[in-house]
């Protein structure tokens, strides 16, 4: 499928059908050098595909830091308020019950459930926000039609300069990528 799609994109010579140009590297150092150079050359819409997280690669690719931490903090606060509020409401407002002469709002006994609700909400927010923002679960992605892309989860490192980049020009990008010693450079259809 990838071969025909690439041929089609080549024949039309039109970028809209192209997802991007992908260079395959056999070492993480080569990828890092290429990523550095690509950012310096002014490319912005790009991504790298690696079998394991590479420290600092997001900065090399000019990516903004993720907001995930703040979202999780907000979820944690919401969880704490919800957890405590639920117990306070049940014991003070909804069904006041004198147990052993304790005050209705016997907050020390509410600490555990408040804490558990904080952790529950923030943990699931961390997990689901990560999946959601990464577009997962997802049935298909154009990058999967890259030749030998199965190796991206094994021992190869891919750099994709995407066609939606303002400075994208297939010939120039190909020349640029080939300078950095890739195993191969392929056109990937969208």
């Amino acid at each position: 499928m990838s071969a025909s799609a690439t041929a089609h994109a080549g024949a039309a010579g039109a970028e809209p059908d192209l997802y991007g140009l992908v260079a395959e590297f056999d070492s993480v150092e080569a990828l890092e050098t290429a990523a550095d150079a690509a950012r310096e050359a002014g490319y912005r819409s790009m991504d790298a595909y690696t079998p394991y997280p590479v420290e600092g690669l997001d900065e090399k690719l000019g990516m903004e830091p993720t907001r995930l931490g703040w979202v999780v903090l907000a979820a944690g606060i919401a969880g704490a308020l919800l957890g405590f509020g639920m117990q306070w409401y049940a014991n003070v407002v909804f069904y006041p019950l004198n147990i052993g002469g304790q005050p209705l709002n016997s907050w020390p006994q509410f600490i555990i459930i408040t804490f558990e609700m904080t952790v529950l909400l923030s943990a699931f927010t961390a997990g689901l926000y990560m999946l959601g923002r990464n577009g997962l679960p997802r049935y298909h992605h154009p990058i999967f039609s890259t030749p030998n892309f199965a190796a991206a989860s094994r021992d190869r490192f891919f750099l994709c300069i995407e066609a939606r980049d303002a400075r994208f020009d297939p010939t120039a990008v190909r020349t640029f990528l080939e300078k950095h010693g890739p195993v191969r450079v392929s056109e990937v259809a969208s």
Partner: protein
């Protein structure tokens, strides 16, 4: 203490020479082979586990049809085997979370090769544990009454009750552990998808990995989420066992109403958990030829943690006894004397001291910590010791509480034992399926470790350690 000569291998979290492809092939080979080529030992282990699972299900059927009267529980010993086994199982689970969360936060890279199966152990142990209080309820089918849900009775559960704290603590722990484990698995499932040999494998792992591409942006969010999950799981695991200790400490029963319970229970949980980690890791590394990834260093470190937490637990025993004396309360003092010298059950206390204090002392020696056979034996003894500890705390304490006219005895019945033996079947079935269907080592993390190892040395403290060693040599 510096690096001694001749112990180089023990300092490494991964044997040198592993490249990413090699890690994949070693870990994933047993997962991807066809059903017909599954190792014989797997079928034997799985078969035994299934048989025990059958016993478990039979016991549950008898329990549900006959009621909790089939157990040896009585008055005054209303909490007996079900609660002992519940605490025993959940304690085992805690080591998995500590390995994956606490050691990640403390930047201990050696955790990488044991966190996956330890987390799986956590989940399966929590399954075994969590079913006990539900089965023990008397009418297990209405356990959902513990949940705050809108109902026609116009009632909320009693949020002041430790039983409800348990529900929230264990519910959160189970669900967050599954989430943490699954998120950790996603990149490895993508690897399995890409290396699958059959259509069935491609579909199974393709669905499970959710379409993971391994893009840098995805990794950025993934790593932040993973770190936060670790940071949340660490206090969570401490809270869970503290809550379980609170079930006891909040009561007025002599021997339970004690502030030492939460920290002492947590230490006991980690102690038992590391014993279980060793009992699983030692056969697993042999069977799957993972000695290069689960190295002597892992066994050595797990043994050290077992020794340290074991000594905290023993300290807890003595604090309990001292507290009983120092409280000046007649019932507390009697409880302590009854545990240690009581005519019926003195053997349980001394056996537990033998298992949890005496048997772990050889772990001070490096040669013992690096001998898998010895470690396996000690771990089995520790597991028995930790079961006895809960037996002493739960059952023996209750036999003689306040007025002698209300005293009683406790003898477990056949169904007590069959449900307990059966829970090993439940655990074993899940664990055997796990090692057959999923990678037992986190391959993406191992690749990162191997890369780091090749370029910067395996250990962030390696340079410091070598400095100290050099200074020692000079002086």
């Amino acid at each position: 203490m510096g690096v001694r000569s001749g112990s180089v291998e023990t300092q490494r979290a991964i044997r040198p020479g592993y490249d990413p492809a090699g890690i994949d092939d070693t870990v994933n080979a047993p997962v991807l082979v066809g059903v017909g080529r599954t190792a014989a030992w797997w079928w034997i282990g799985f078969g035994i586990s299934l048989a025990l699972l059958g016993l478990y299900l039979a016991s549950v059927v008898v329990l549900v049809t006959q009621g909790v009267g089939i157990f040896g529980n009585n008055q005054p010993v209303a909490w007996a085997m079900p609660i002992i086994n519940f605490v025993w199982w959940i304690g085992i689970g805690h080591a998995g979370t500590l390995i994956s969360a606490a050691l990640l936060l403390f930047r201990q890279p050696w955790r990488t090769s044991i966190n996956r199966f330890a987390e799986a152990m956590t989940i399966f142990a929590v399954v075994c544990a969590g079913l006990y209080p539900i089965l023990h309820l008397g009418r297990p089918w209405v356990f959902y009454w513990l949940l705050p849900y809108p109902n026609t009775y116009g009632l909320f559960p009693n949020f002041r009750s430790p039983l409800d704290w348990d529900l929230f603590a264990i519910g959160t722990y189970a669900s967050v552990s599954v989430l943490f484990w699954f998120i950790g698995l996603i990149p490895d499932l993508a690897t399995l998808r890409d290396q699958s040999r059959t259509r069935a494998q491609r579909i199974l792992y393709g669905i499970l990995c959710l379409g993971w591409t391994g893009s840098a942006k995805a990794w950025q969010r993934y790593q932040r989420a993973y770190l936060l999950l670790a940071a949340l799981s660490f206090p969570l695991v401490l809270s869970v066992h503290s809550t379980i200790a609170m079930d006891f400490a909040v009561s007025v029963v002599p021997g339970w109403n004690n502030t030492v319970m939460p920290p002492y229970f947590v230490a006991g949980a980690v102690f038992a958990g590391f014993a279980m980690v060793l009992m699983l890791a030692i056969p697993l590394r042999k069977a799957f030829h993972l000695e290069g990834m689960i190295t002597m260093r892992h066994l050595d470190n797990a043994a050290k943690l077992m020794l340290a937490t074991g000594m905290i637990v023993v300290y807890g025993y003595f604090v309990e006894l001292f507290d009983a004396y120092y409280s000046g309360l007649e019932f507390e003092r009697f409880m302590a004397l009854n545990r240690v010298f009581g005519a019926d059950h003195w053997w349980a206390f001394w056996l537990l001291i033998a298992c949890n204090l005496v048997a772990i002392q050889p772990l001070w020696l490096r040669s013992v910590r690096q001998n898998p056979w010895a470690l396996f034996g000690i771990s089995v003894i520790v597991s028995i010791g930790m079961w006895l500890e809960r037996f002493v705390i739960v059952a023996i304490t209750l036999t003689k509480d306040f007025l002698p006219s209300a005293w009683g005895g406790y003898v477990p019945t056949f169904w007590d034992w069959s449900l307990y033996a059966g829970s090993f079947g439940l655990f074993g079935t899940l664990f055997f399926l796990f090692i057959r269907l999923l990678p037992s080592i986190a391959t993406s993390e191992m690749k990162e470790l191997a890369h780091h190892d090749a370029h910067h040395g395996s250990d962030p403290f390696e340079e410091i350690r070598q400095d100290v060693h050099a200074k020692e040599a000079r002086s």
